[in-house]
Symmetry: C2
Subunit: 396 residues, 2 copies
């Protein structure tokens, strides 16, 4: 018996709404976003009058507070923009509502990806007896739960962790980004970073790369990026000597991104045009295909997992745990492609873990701090089956 408020009606919000609606633990569901008509469309697609909708500007705490006061949810699932994490957390504190998100806070004017802003809410959530669950998508999210599962069952000491994220899908367009192109371009153009022997080592943007083999997919160029779950994982698993994150990009994709920067269309400052002030990257977003429109013709799979080396019973062992997700199947079920699907399913399942009292505690938590077993026991039937391999060549 739980009331849930979902904020955000993009691809991920669509998946969360579908999955939450199927779960009887959620008795009342509200979907809210800046544009109510988007929420109405999703609610209609889910059907059965399961979902109420509302308009809310997630940048404005007072609007969020008014909505929470009237709907009185037990938990908010925040799948809005990462710029909006803090306003939503503020409103949760004010209204006594628990909180879950899939991506950490990032200021609007620079690409940061650090937990410090949200970890700073620890005492306030604790004092109010509320739970905030950070980063419960796939990566961050399942990637950290996989790591916790490995630590609990297969290792005495995790020493080397490589999170590997491959999208081998093909959407048939010359160029398109899989989610908000602004966030996508920011992520890729920032410096890389990884953890080794207690230190963070900085790299140039996409400086380090490697050809890695993904199950059912094959070899793909994989680039070392900084990704937010590295920050919490090395803190929560202090035996880790080295932690890295790899993501695949095709040469064509990277060429397009480079040119977009060269020609000035990735600029986030205003440009004078016929007396108007226009941010080039915002205008580009209006010209590029809408990420939500990619689903219909998206073929192929994603493959995301953890490759781990460490010690068990005094011996070194290797371990690879991953999920492959099919774009077409994801689209058939929810009307969105696998990149949104793999983020939305864990968010809905994490909220269910909380609603059922399987994940609990006052304060701010990263998902690897909870018991991974009940989550992973259900993840497969929720649409994201996972596979384990032992003592193989990790390539990394």
């Amino acid at each position: 018996m739980s009331k849930v408020l979902i904020i955000g009606a993009g691809g991920v919000g669509t998946v969360v709404a579908h999955k939450v609606a199927k779960n009887e633990i959620f008795t009342d569901i509200m979907l809210a976003s800046r544009t109510k008509s988007k929420c109405d469309q999703i609610a209609a697609a889910v059907g059965g009058n399961r979902i109420q909708t509302a308009q809310v500007d997630a940048d404005r705490v007072e609007e969020l507070v008014a909505l929470m006061r009237s709907f009185q949810p037990d938990i908010v699932i925040n799948v809005a923009l990462p710029y909006q994490d803090l306003t939503i957390m503020d409103a949760c504190l004010e209204c006594g509502v628990n909180y879950l998100d899939t991506a950490n806070y990032e200021p609007k004017d620079e690409a940061h990806f650090e937990y410090s802003w949200q970890w700073a809410y620890q005492d306030r959530f604790k004092e109010k007896g509320l739970t905030a669950i950070l980063g419960c998508g796939f990566d961050p999210g399942v990637s950290a739960i996989f790591t916790a599962y490995a630590a609990k069952h297969h290792f005495d000491e995790i020493q080397y962790l490589d999170i590997v994220d491959c999208n081998a899908g093909n959407h048939g367009k010359a160029f398109a980004t899989n989610f908000n192109p602004e966030i996508n371009i920011r992520e890729i153009t920032q410096n890389g970073r990884y953890y080794e022997n207690g230190q963070w080592i900085k790299t140039g943007p996409l400086e380090i790369h490697n050809s890695l083999t993904y199950p059912n997919i094959g070899k793909r160029d994989s680039y070392l990026l900084y990704h937010e779950e590295l920050e919490s994982l090395v803190k929560n698993f202090p035996t880790i000597k080295r932690a890295r994150f790899w993501m695949t990009f095709g040469q064509e994709y990277l060429t397009h991104l480079r040119v977009i920067q060269d020609i000035g269309m990735a600029r986030i400052d205003e440009v004078e045009y016929n007396g108007m002030k226009i941010v080039p990257l915002q205008f580009l977003k209006a010209v590029l295909p809408d990420p939500k429109s990619l689903g219909a013709n998206y073929h192929g799979q994603t493959s995301i997992g953890c490759r781990i080396r460490g010690i068990k019973d005094g011996k070194e062992r290797t371990y690879y745990i991953y999920n492959n997700c099919d774009h077409e199947q994801a689209y058939k079920e929810t009307g969105t492609q696998a990149v949104s699907y793999t983020t939305g399913v864990p968010a809905a399942l994490g909220a269910a873990m909380f609603a059922r009292g399987l994940w609990k505690g006052a304060g701010v938590y990263n998902v690897e701090q909870f018991d991974p077993d009940p989550f992973l026991a259900e993840l497969g039937e929720q649409g994201l089956p996972w596979v384990e391999k032992f003592d193989i060549d990790l390539e990394v």
Copy 2:
């Protein structure tokens, strides 16, 4: 003793103004464009009160007529946009003024590059006893005069003509176009075309390419394009069996153009953005570096010429005539780079040929129909020295 009206205050207009001002045959000079302040800047740079300025919208015949009636020029040098050739020719006919341009008319909504529109003015110019000189830049322009010179002095029969245009300059920017990016992108994305055995043969855009060696530069990838002087040259030199035009592009430049198309920024239709209607290519033009701004750090040379094979005294011979122009030197003299310089110098010299009665005749003429000797005798001292080579490997 001649009065000249220059229309157009871009890079080419700047060069024409500088060169015309140095020539005593031009007693009165007026420079006019849509933005009078640009004309004033150029006039100030030339100095000595040599140049008057005026505002005119070259899309509007009545404005052009009013300006010509008040200034009463003997000849107009049209270095405005190719969209505006016909309105300017109309005004010349109405006011009894002779005409010279550097690029043939092209409708605004499609890339055409055909002389038919302007050749249709033949009878009207003839009846009024006026001269219209078409395509008196470098290519078209000097390229056709080189061909006429070859036909006059070195060949009984020109059989194979390859016009080769190399820009080996480096402006130090990741990407920029050398002139109006809109025209530049249109030219390159259209189909290629060349003449062979009485027929025009169509190719895909940039489908045919070849590595050609340019003097003082070396090997450069050169792409077969359609270029307007081919149309008049095969008509005026009917012994020609094959005529082609080649232009160099670096891989990086082509990659940038391809991506600009892929991401939709080359679109010339309107896109909805925050309630405004914006043409992506027009917005891109506002974000890209202004071609006029490239001059300051432009290094390297251009090399444009004609490679000809044919018969002289019953024997086959080969011939290469070309000019190399240095970006830095062009900038030092006129404040613009070599691409504008090589177009503006021939326009000013062509107008001087007319003013001195060396080129004359009532009607519409392409430059190869005049005597090439007096023009080429002066071209070197005007800043574009040329070189001849005989009986060499033409590579084409």
